[in-house]
Amino acid sequence: MDLSAINPALLLASLLVAATPILLAGIGELVVERAGVLNLGVEGMMITGAICGFMATIVTGSPVFGFVFAAIGGATLAFLFALLTQYALANQVASGLALTLFGLGLSSLLGQDYVGLKPPSTPKLDIPFLSDLPFIGTVLFNHDIIVYLGIALVALVWAALKYSRIGLILRAVGENHDAAHALGYKVVRIRVLAIMFGGACAGLGGAYISLIRVPQWTEGMTAGAGWIALALVVFASWKPWRVLLGAWLFGGVTVLQLNLQAAGVAIPVEFLSMSPYIITIVVLVIMSADKSRAPASLGRIFHASS
């Protein structure tokens, strides 16, 4: 066992990268849930984003286009969910699960001709001076732009929810849709937009996996990241910064367990492999002392009957 082989700076840097896909998808889902909608189809939207982004990058040669298309792809799939749940008033849990099934199938069909291709690499943001700082430079200033985008998005969502009028309306819709409707807000329209925003974020998260973290296209490559993202939102008690915290925690434990294995720590591998999940549960239990609760209208069907 040689713990000195673990470099804390590199560990923290990898943590940021490992956390990014679930962070992006998680913050999107947070907005959806704050609007009172439970979309369990994150995995389906992520994988669709992954393939849309991959295809667009291969065709245009530009990862920027890739990410844009990934967001569009995710949002389009989310729109299907919005049609079902907001206009056809279908059950949200079942619609979300169906969306995942649909997204997995769709992405595999779309991606048939893209197996084994290598996308052009997304450059790292090399910030002069800052990137060269010892420790801090490695941890914070040596990443691709999407890592920063993820964090910026968290800040933006936090600020918007807390200070802006849009945020206020969104929360009102999520807490009590009947009251919001009575006040003259377009409940359905706001929810549809929130759902599409969530889809776009999930799409970005998926594309981060297929374009930067892996990067290649293989069927089913998100391998459950969407479920983790869903769990993050609950974990965070619907608070933006805690999504970031949760993503770091989860990404951190994942990377740490691999580090411990490579360093030859004498803990059975199967226990190390299950540690990210167990630690998430433990932290959640500790945090359940906090009595903040889910948006009151979460998952309830809205129909303007008056």
Binding site: L89, L97, A98, L101, S108, L109, T280, I281, L284, S288
Partner: protein
Amino acid sequence: MLKLEKRPQPSQTFAYLTPIFAIIITMIAGGLLFMLLGKNPFEAIRTIFWDPLFGEFAFYYRPQLLVKGGPLILIAIGLSLGFRAGIWNIGAEGQYIIGAICGAGVGLAFYPMEAWFIFPLMIIAGALGGWAWAMIPALLKVKFQTNEILVSLMLVYVAEQLLASMSLGLLKNPEGHGFPGSRNLKDYSSAFNDEIITGSGMHWGVITAFIAVIFAYILLNRHMLGFSIRLTGEAPRAAKFSSVNPTRLILFCLGMSGALAGLAGLFEVSGPAGQISIDFNTGYGFTAIIVAFLGRLHPIGILFAGLLMALTYIGGEIAQANLGLPAAAIQLFQGMLLFFLLAVDLLTNYRIKRVRKETV
């Protein structure tokens, strides 16, 4: 202009008609999809929906519907009780795995002894295993108000790691030349959950699924506990003021769904699957959530939904082999079927009214 108007009572007629509508719409949309993929749409639809039931080899596929649908129905029945009361166990997959490990573990502990009591013991162990795994989120929810969705989901991943560890270690077949996976219970008659009538597809798991349907039906319609469940789900405030004990309800619903999922795992591992292996679980626990909602959380509805899901799986495999349709197209098709089934349910609860715009 069209306008939705909520029906005072869900329409009985439409409750029966809508699934048929949905299937017809899916056939049309799916047909278009298959045409796009260069296949004959009529042949594809016939292969998926007709051949398993009435085709040349239906004698083989019909029993297979029970084999595939049995575990789905069994798990979905358990889940539906909780879902009705607003208790969200989405970790049935984990409880299914643990039930299988415990049940198979008990059976293998007795190997090679042959005795009548081994299989009943395995059933108890399977149910207890699933129950215990579900008790973790239940107790955490009762004690610390921890969210059960997250805990039950995380425990699925933990169970998967445990399964891998068991197939590679404790339960590994000592005569398996070092390969992962347990002994095959099909070769151990005391532990083998065989078909009760050869060729019927009926094994004890299918019987248990049918019993569960009847049990749930009686519970929900005739029993006080069933009333509490429905009340909590439909009118949480009223439930608070009545005599419903939320702690008891949480423990019952999660425990019941866990035990049934564990049973499903046990019957699968001792019958159709035969052995514990790294990839033993195939997503029944997640698919069952869809089945529960497709069946509108109603026991009889779940019975049909489970069989319909099974039909699309089996028909889908035939379509892959015979028509060269990719598995992804089948998945997409299943997704569409679910979408339409969910969407048309609108007609059960709402009436579409034509509203003429007022002209002055």
